[in-house]
């Protein structure tokens, strides 16, 4: 049983490493964030498997903490890092069914975003940040 647990743990570690390819290939930042999700779930699974062996009970608490905090990075991604437009949106260009790339209208230049934060104007800036960031609907 211990041997099986170690084997499954090894298998999961390998799946994580294979999942890394998505980080390299993933066209958009959201694709790369998927690996963070994969990390969270598989990490918890491996830790729980390792925790089953005698004397390593503390690893279950590590798994507990990891399961609790896995979503913080994703929330930070959604709130902070996702405002930039993706250069080559859509599936990998090589994919046969890739639609014509969406108009790469880089509406939000980073400089404007930074000055929006540095701007000391009142409530308009909050609305301004929304207007600047709202994308026009793709075709």
């Amino acid at each position: 049983m211990a041997e099986l647990r170690a084997a499954v743990a090894l298998f999961l570690v390998l799946t994580v490493l294979v999942g890394m390819i998505r980080v390299a290939r993933g066209p958009s930042f959201a694709d790369r964030m998927l690996v963070a999700l994969l990390m969270g779930t598989t990490g918890v699974a491996v830790l729980v498997l390792l925790a089953a062996s005698p004397g390593a009970g503390a690893l279950r608490d590590v798994a507990l903490v990891l399961s609790l905090l896995a979503s913080v990075t994703v929330v930070a991604f959604a709130r902070l890092a996702a405002s930039g437009r993706e250069p080559a949106a859509g599936p990998a260009p090589g994919h046969p069914d890739a639609p014509a790339p969406a108009p790469a209208a880089a509406t939000v230049t980073v400089t404007a975003t930074v000055t929006a934060t540095a701007a000391a104007t009142d409530a308009t800036a909050a609305a301004g940040a929304d207007a600047a960031a709202a994308p026009e609907p793709p075709p």
Partner: protein, 130 residues
């Protein structure tokens, strides 16, 4: 090649990669990331060396040292990132002042107007804004 030497050399390679990154890159955020990576590598070496202990449980003192090191590392990283963010803001404002001085004629509508309505760039001189 016992388990601890495996991890010790892996941590050492990790430390070397971090140090290379620090001196090889010119971008500030990537340098900060590289120092963080180097620190983690060093802590892995320390924990691996602790695993050499002949007693069943590894030596607890290096574990405490690593804990202290991680907290000190995150503090320094957070301060460095905050200074870098402030530098980005100051540079962006400076860049806008240059733009503002170059086309004073018709005030450009839209974003520039809002940007034009900026607060005066941070006061020159030694003091940070109170």
């Amino acid at each position: 090649m016992s388990a601890w030497q495996l991890y010790a050399l892996s941590g050492l390679a990790w430390f070397g990669v971090g140090m290379w990154g620090l001196f090889a890159h010119a971008h500030w955020v990537r340098k900060i990331l590289a120092v963080n990576v180097a620190g983690s590598g060093l802590f892995l070496v320390l924990a691996a060396l602790a695993r050499r202990a002949t007693t069943p449980a590894p030596d607890p003192v290096p574990h405490a040292l690593v804990l202290t090191g991680i907290v000190v590392g995150i503090s320094a990283t957070a301060l460095a990132l905050s200074v870098a963010r402030r530098l980005a803001e100051v540079e962006a404002t400076a860049r806008l002042d240059e733009d503002a001085t170059h086309e004073p004629a018709a005030p450009p509508a839209g974003a520039d107007a809002r940007a034009g309505g900026d607060a005066a760039p941070p006061p020159a001189g030694g003091g940070a804004p109170p």
